[in-house]
């Protein structure tokens, strides 16, 4: 089962531009996490934002969380070709397994 929806499903931008991906979820959460997947391989954890936080930064990543709207956004600033990947939000179900959103496929061209 998928926890949330992401939009857009696909995003194509030029190097140097910013990329924004959105995620909505259905249940109450303790935290929301973002992951990146390159070429259908294992996922890599990018950033976690807790339910009592509204915004968090890590390098070129900025994550926001709106618990009233049950939504989050991931902003990648100054995109690089190496940022080309699929990005997924995920929430922890009842303290156990991570449930993933549908994901956004980002393509950054040079």
């Amino acid at each position: 089962s998928q926890q949330g929806e992401e939009d857009p499903q696909a995003l194509s931008i030029q190097e140097g531009e910013n990329a924004t991906m959105n995620c909505s979820y259905k249940t109450s959460i303790n935290n929301l996490q973002w992951y990146r997947q390159n070429s259908g391989r294992g996922l890599v954890h990018l950033i976690l934002i807790r339910s009592n936080e509204r915004e968090k930064h890590s390098g070129r990543l900025r994550v926001t969380l709106d618990t009233s709207k049950k939504s989050s956004s991931l902003l990648i600033t100054a995109s690089r070709a190496a940022d080309t990947a699929s990005y997924f939000c995920a929430t922890l179900r009842a303290g156990t397994a991570l449930i993933f959103g549908k994901g956004t496929t980002l393509s950054v061209s040079s």
Binding site: N31, R41, L43, F88, A90, T96, F100
Partner: protein, 114 residues
């Protein structure tokens, strides 16, 4: 952090056969998770494997089709049984880190059923 070794990394199998995927973690963990990722899709949780008890399967997944073993706290296997082309997917094992703030993944098994 946790390092997960998953094998095989890929396989092409005949329909009707079975494939067992192995997942080895470099530390002891209570729960291990198996996901399926169909082409172009997100990850769907298949089951949670606990040591010493039967795996807990998600809706739409059954033990006869996806038997799971968890003989100790660092190892698990997932078998895809009686395969059909619809089982062609990437299968990933995962564990949660400390305080459940991060998940770690194996590199996945890309399965093609012909």
């Amino acid at each position: 952090s946790a390092v997960i070794s998953q094998k095989p990394s890929r396989d092409i199998c005949q329909r009707g056969t079975s494939l067992t995927i192995q997942c080895q973690v470099d530390s002891q963990v209570t729960m291990m998770f198996w996901y399926r990722q169909q082409p172009g899709q997100s990850l769907t949780l298949i089951a949670t494997a606990n040591q010493g008890s039967e795996a807990t399967y998600e809706s739409g997944f059954v033990i006869d089709k996806f038997p799971i073993s968890r003989p100790n706290l660092t190892f698990s296997t997932l078998t895809v049984s009686n395969m059909s082309p619809e089982d062609s997917s990437i299968y990933l094992c995962s564990v949660l880190g400390r305080a459940n703030t991060e998940a770690f993944f194996g590199q996945g098994t890309r399965l093609t059923v012909v």
